[in-house]
Symmetry: C2
Subunit: 153 residues, 2 copies
């Protein structure tokens, strides 16, 4: 891409980090459509399930949101769809009626085994080694931390 002669060469799409980042996320999401076929899960729903499998106990909507950086405006309808699909239960906490406890159903628990090969399949699709992936993960995590700080400043 020739950017010489432009008044603002720094605006060239190919020179910026933001676009590959944006494109990569959409490409990954698209790949998950194939990888999650048969489970009935979307990618964000899969992430919620990852958190629930890992916690292995009921979590509140707030706790899920904190882990995934999502708010109730995103999670409430998503969780209702997961519930309608039979993967989770949503119940008000008897001890504090403001809270909704999200727990796995047996069907939801059973899904874990079904997707256990997904991370490796995705890794193969990305064409990078495990070490490269972990290094990239660390760089992106650091980037998120910086951006969070910048936004609250």
């Amino acid at each position: 891409m020739d950017v010489s002669g432009r008044t603002y060469p720094q605006l060239a799409l190919d020179l910026q980090l933001c676009f590959p980042l944006y494109a990569a996320t959409r490409a990954v999401t698209k790949r998950y459509v194939t990888l999650l076929e048969g489970t009935g899960l979307t990618y964000p729903q899969y992430l919620v399930m990852l958190v629930l499998w890992e916690a292995d106990e009921p979590l509140t909507v707030t706790a899920l949101g904190h882990r995934l950086r999502l708010d109730s405006g995103t999670l409430t309808p998503l969780l209702k769809r997961l519930e309608a699909a039979g993967h989770i239960r949503r119940e008000r906490d008897p001890g504090d009626e403001r809270r909704v406890l999200v727990s796995l159903t047996e069907a939801g628990r059973a899904l874990e085994e079904q997707v256990s090969g997904v991370p490796q399949q995705l890794g193969q699709s990305m064409g990078i080694s495990r070490d490269e992936a972990l290094a990239l993960r660390d760089q992106l995590t650091e980037l998120v931390d910086h951006l969070d700080a910048a936004d609250s400043a």
Copy 2:
């Protein structure tokens, strides 16, 4: 994050690349809300403007879509909003009435100067050097290429 004792340790959220990638894109998009304040542009709209500034000539919807990896289902309403905001014009190509040519208005052209500092501001918010950003850009670009190949396979 302790993943010992899990039946499927590879499903731990913190071990996966996909989540930081997803979180980073959302953090960047959120940062752009602040950086683009005053322009009336959203982040995807800003990307469209970048392509138009760079091309410096009318582009078809398909050409824009090819550059940004977006289809008409996304672009048509987005372009209508950019048109309503006065940044672009949309006109059928007289030589081929199937095509819609997207061109900059004077106001749209004038926006370029107004956002010329955005890439550097974002770079600062990310807390990484220019070289690190370019290296990350290359890694992500390669990742997209691999994923595209995997999906069409």
